[in-house]
Each structure stands twice: as structure tokens, then as C-alpha cells.
């Protein structure tokens, strides 16, 4: 259920509404952020294909994602992420503006600007890591899964790092070696800030020159 920033804005004074209107992110920003996430996710996806090729002994092949269902799926996924990022930002922004109004009832626009800069810096100190982790995790898992499926590769996988906090991650780590298909049908990230990725231990691959690498 997305957070409803509009109801918070409705409770604001006119000055605070003006500040929120200036600062909030809109649909143009959704599209811009989607584009940035897709650029990053595509880079990760291609890198993971390259790594998977190395794991089947094909060190001279590099991932290259141009067109096709994988790129469409990444685009769809990151559009969803971008909408969520923007909505959460607008919600948190509303909370920050209301808090400034409570702390400094006489705040003018310079006060709002200075305090919102501090708020954004504090928020970015943890939020950027969360966004990067999710962007990275989904793209790596998708690349591992596509690589195994398109190249008909079997084998097993182990979730790493071994250290795990949430029960889902602890469960997969505790199982140790998992059949590759089962692992890739239940891919991480399993929650926000999930740091896990599978180390794959593939069986025999075919000819390196015919390996599917995302093209």
C-alpha cells in the first residue's frame, strides 16, 4: 500500500503547501529516475552475464543486453521502483516540512531550505544504499536466471554472504547447496537492504561461442 503524501499535505498550512509544491518530485522525475535505474540495472545485468560465463569456463564472453524481454522486464521493474521512490520521497518530505513547522513556527523560506538540505542529506545517507542494493540485487538475480535458462545450464548454488539477519535469508543460507533451478526460481533480494546473491556452481556448458549472452 503506497504511502499517501496528499493527506499529509492537506493538513499543512499554505506556506508549507507552497514549500512541498516546490520540492516534491513529479511524473517527469519518475521517468528520469526510471532511466537512471535502468542504466544501472542494465550495467549490472551485463556484468552478471559476464561473471556467469566465467563460471562455465568462457572467459572471453561479455554480457550485452540490447533488446528483448529481459530489457523490457528490467524497464518495467525500474519504473515500478521509480514510482515507489518518488512517492516515498514526497511522503517523507511532507513529514519533514511539518516537523520544521513545529520546531520553528516562524520559519521563512530560507529556514525551510537550510533544514530540508539537512533532512535530505541525512535521508540519503541510508536511502541511497537501499536503492542501490535493490537495483543491483534484482538485476543480478534476473541475469543469473536468464543465463541458466537460455543456456540450459544446471548445477547448484549457495547463497552468500553466510551472515544473514532475516529468517528467509537464514533459511536459504542454512540449506547450503541448493539445486540451481530451485535457487533461481526463488531469487534474492528477499527484503529491503538484502545483501545476498547466489554463488552458482554450474554443470557442463556448451560451446562458448554459442553461449547466450543477452543479445
Amino acid at each position: 500500500m503506497p504511502r499517501d503524501w496528499r493527506s499529509l499535505v492537506d493538513s499543512m498550512t499554505d506556506v508549507q503547501k507552497l514549500v512541498h509544491l516546490a520540492m516534491r518530485l513529479d511524473d517527469f522525475e519518475v521517468d528520469r529516475i526510471r532511466g537512471e535505474l535502468l542504466k544501472e540495472g542494465r550495467r549490472v545485468y551485463e556484468d552478471e552475464l559476464t561473471k556467469q560465463a566465467q563460471r562455465v569456463g568462457c572467459r572471453n564472453r561479455a554480457g550485452r543486453l540490447t533488446v528483448g524481454p529481459a530489457l523490457s522486464e528490467l524497464n518495467r521493474l525500474y519504473e515500478e521502483h521509480a514510482r515507489s521512490i518518488v512517492n516515498t520521497y514526497n511522503y517523507d518530505l511532507a513529514g519533514a516540512i511539518i516537523a520544521i513547522g513545529v520546531e520553528v513556527p516562524t520559519a521563512n523560506r530560507y529556514t525551510y531550505e537550510a533544514r530540508l538540505r539537512g533532512w535530505e542529506a541525512r535521508r540519503n545517507s541510508w536511502k541511497l544504499g537501499q536503492v542501490a542494493m535493490a537495483t543491483n540485487g534484482y538485476a543480478r538475480s534476473m541475469a543469473q536466471s536468464d543465463f541458466a535458462a537460455y543456456n540450459s545450464i544446471d548445477g547448484y548454488a549457495i547463497l552468500r554472504p553466510e551472515k544473514a539477519v532475516c529468517p528467509v535469508c537464514q533459511g536459504w543460507v542454512a540449506r547450503g547447496s541448493i539445486p540451481l533451478r530451485e535457487a533461481l526460481n526463488n531469487p534474492p533480494p528477499y527484503h529491503g537492504n538484502c545483501p545476498h546473491t547466489y554463488d552458482t556452481f554450474p554443470g557442463q556448458a556448451g560451446d562458448c561461442s554459442t553461449l547466450w549472452m543477452g543479445e
Partner: protein, 63 residues
């Protein structure tokens, strides 16, 4: 076909590389996700716009 031992060693190298790439991505996202546009719009609010909002009932003064 690589041995299990070689794959374990390669996995360690790849994990370090993934971590390095994640850090680099976070640094790029810091630029991509900053809301400078919003701060520019906030600074661009005119005195008239601000005063009109103030007159609607908000107590305001120099901070």
C-alpha cells in the same frame, strides 16, 4: 570445466568485484537522485508568492 576449488576462488573474486561495483553505483545514484531541481524551485519562490501564503494564516519571521 573448472574444479569446485577454482569456482570457490572465482566466487570470492567475483563477490569483491560486485561489492566494488555496488559502491560505485551508490556514488552515481547520489548525483542522480539528488533533488537540486526542487531546491532551485524553492529558491525561485517570489516574495509575492511567499507573502500570499503567509497572509493565509502562517506566522512567519526571520529565523
Amino acid at each position: 570445466m573448472a574444479s569446485h576449488r577454482e569456482l570457490v576462488r572465482l566466487a570470492e573474486v567475483q563477490r569483491r568485484d560486485r561489492a566494488r561495483q555496488l559502491q560505485a553505483m551508490q556514488e552515481r545514484l547520489a548525483v542522480a537522485l539528488s533533488n537540486e531541481v526542487g531546491f532551485n524551485r524553492l529558491r525561485a519562490i517570489t516574495d509575492e508568492e511567499w507573502e500570499a501564503a503567509v497572509l493565509a494564516g502562517e506566522p512567519v519571521g526571520e529565523a
